[in-house]
Symmetry: D3
Subunit: 137 residues, 6 copies
């Protein structure tokens, strides 16, 4: 069977602040600039979840996209949407919520839920002009 990758995009709106508690306030301000604002800022994030696998002969699907949507909605979106990524999200506890760290944390949450497909790539858009990609390495 051919190996195809299917991708579903989902959105969430969240507040965050870049801050490393191991650094002084001055260091945090120097490293993170306006992203260190103590009163937070926020984004409309877009998460693209790419799952790879053989096309099932019976369904013509790699994975049913409505099931994939439900999985990501339940495991990630419901936990981060309209939340504060520094405070409200169990799976981000103690993590500085840069786009890089968010995408790796999402991978760890999602990777065991897409079998028999395989998580191929997560892409997280933080703004229209920047995004990060993680492939599990």
């Amino acid at each position: 069977m051919p190996i195809v990758t299917v991708t579903r995009r989902l959105r969430f709106n969240a507040a965050h602040r870049l801050h490393n508690p191991a650094l002084s306030d001055e260091e945090n301000a120097a490293v993170f600039g306006k992203c260190n604002n103590p009163n937070w800022h926020g984004h409309n994030y877009i998460l693209e979840v790419a799952v790879e696998g053989p096309v099932d002969e019976r369904t013509g699907y790699v994975i049913d996209l409505s099931k994939l949507k439900s999985i990501v909605q339940h495991e990630v979106i419901d936990r981060v949407d309209h939340r504060n990524l520094n405070i409200d999200v169990e799976f981000m506890r103690g993590v500085n919520p840069t786009a890089e760290n968010i995408v790796v944390a999402c991978w760890r949450v999602l990777e065991r839920h897409v079998a028999p497909g395989r998580l191929r790539r997560l892409r997280l858009w933080e703004t229209d002009n920047n995004y990060v990609e993680y492939e599990g390495a």
Copy 2:
């Protein structure tokens, strides 16, 4: 001279929370739902500023778009970008930061800065799926 409308889009990323202090916590939760999250959430806002006027014969411009950009950057974007709309923004003091209230507040800040053009319309996108428009009425 022909009357033309020119529009510049600018972006800002901000945290906010919908909350009316005149209501009880229960009422706020009922009215604003997840937008009332006490730890904030946030958005990538897009503000479209539309200025109308005759086309200047010498320049071919209604208003120099690089000047319009500087005006909006200075008067609005620098005050709201990477900020908390409930806490950090002087011109939003005491205002519940719904998209409707933000766009009206931006109008009041901008309207006197675009002469001899005339502010025709502000459009504020809060997400890819919703936006508000104000024309000064």
Copy 3:
């Protein structure tokens, strides 16, 4: 109170065929070209619903966008999404489903459901390159 227009975008995927039963097959083919294909074709439609009204002092809303979404979802989207616009949709019965006719039919369905707001404009995108607008005239 300021008068603001709020817009919500919703999507539906539908099949249709342009065909006027009052015309002969040859006339239908001549008038509608490939859009007359007897086996149908389809689109990802985007419907933008714009509601105008004063900003409510208590909520800061013209209309709660999550309520507006529910209304449009229930009155329009649930009836047209993953359907055939010529066959499956009660409120399009006997109507040739051009974008113009769809948008007028949606207006008639929606206009009485957005009080105390007022339906200001419907915009229907049929493809990325064409859309129609109706303002109730």
Copy 4:
């Protein structure tokens, strides 16, 4: 019959330079900045042509969009696409090609070609962040 507005988007890629020959080189540089570069620059323009009229009972169309596309293609796009707006375009002769002046020139070319519809609005995108609109005033 209901009055509907239909819009078709078309694209063209062109070179231009902002320059008023009635001004000195120094004045041109001061007024137009980098847009005055003597060796030109260019854009992917998007032109949105909006035509208003009653919905024809026989066709369900205000105007057949494939006819509207052909008209705009023939009257405008074929004359400006992959051209230099200062040199190559008859209907821009002697006009400083600001977005404002281009949109007004396009209006004059197109307005007599969309009968029995009526040209309602032209919108010209010069970049993703700025556009101009003309309604014939």
Copy 5:
């Protein structure tokens, strides 16, 4: 010579229905949900065709994009645009038209037409929120 990948996006609008004739009606409804609607639904598909190869020293091209466009237009788009993917398309005969199956079928049609370039990747967008990718494996 450097190896570069060039991609051309083309669009088609088609009707389809997900249905496996080897399953009962109940099974089809359970597996495919609303996508199994017997009266069809449809999409605005976007097909991205990526061709890889060395940059030709004489032309600076991997492949002339206007030639690539003509190839894809002739081999794929003209056969699927404004058609029913279950009924009208020879190269989809007997194939359940999931996005996965469409993209693999397009690969088989296109792969021998892009020499001396090499087909690197096809990406098919079914909606703004989901797409599939095939790389020939």
Copy 6:
């Protein structure tokens, strides 16, 4: 540490003309068609710069995106924006400015500036419908 790829998109507007001086005028016209127009044409280019590396434990960054933006702005955008790619750009001297040749030239300029990250991929959009990608091969 996880290996993540971060991408920043930047834009520039430039004029160009496809022309190989080793060919006759007739050959150039035959090979490049309307892209060979002697008076130039132009585009809104989008350059996506993807940098790969381990996530720094102190910052949570692969590379600070505001630094990456400054690097690309200084090394590429300031040299090509509002310029003529055939005439004005030192690093394109003697190069026929096809999208393929531009993206390879940008790679050579940028690759030594993103250490300790590694340039993973450049993607250059010439229009909404075509882009090229280079990964350094």
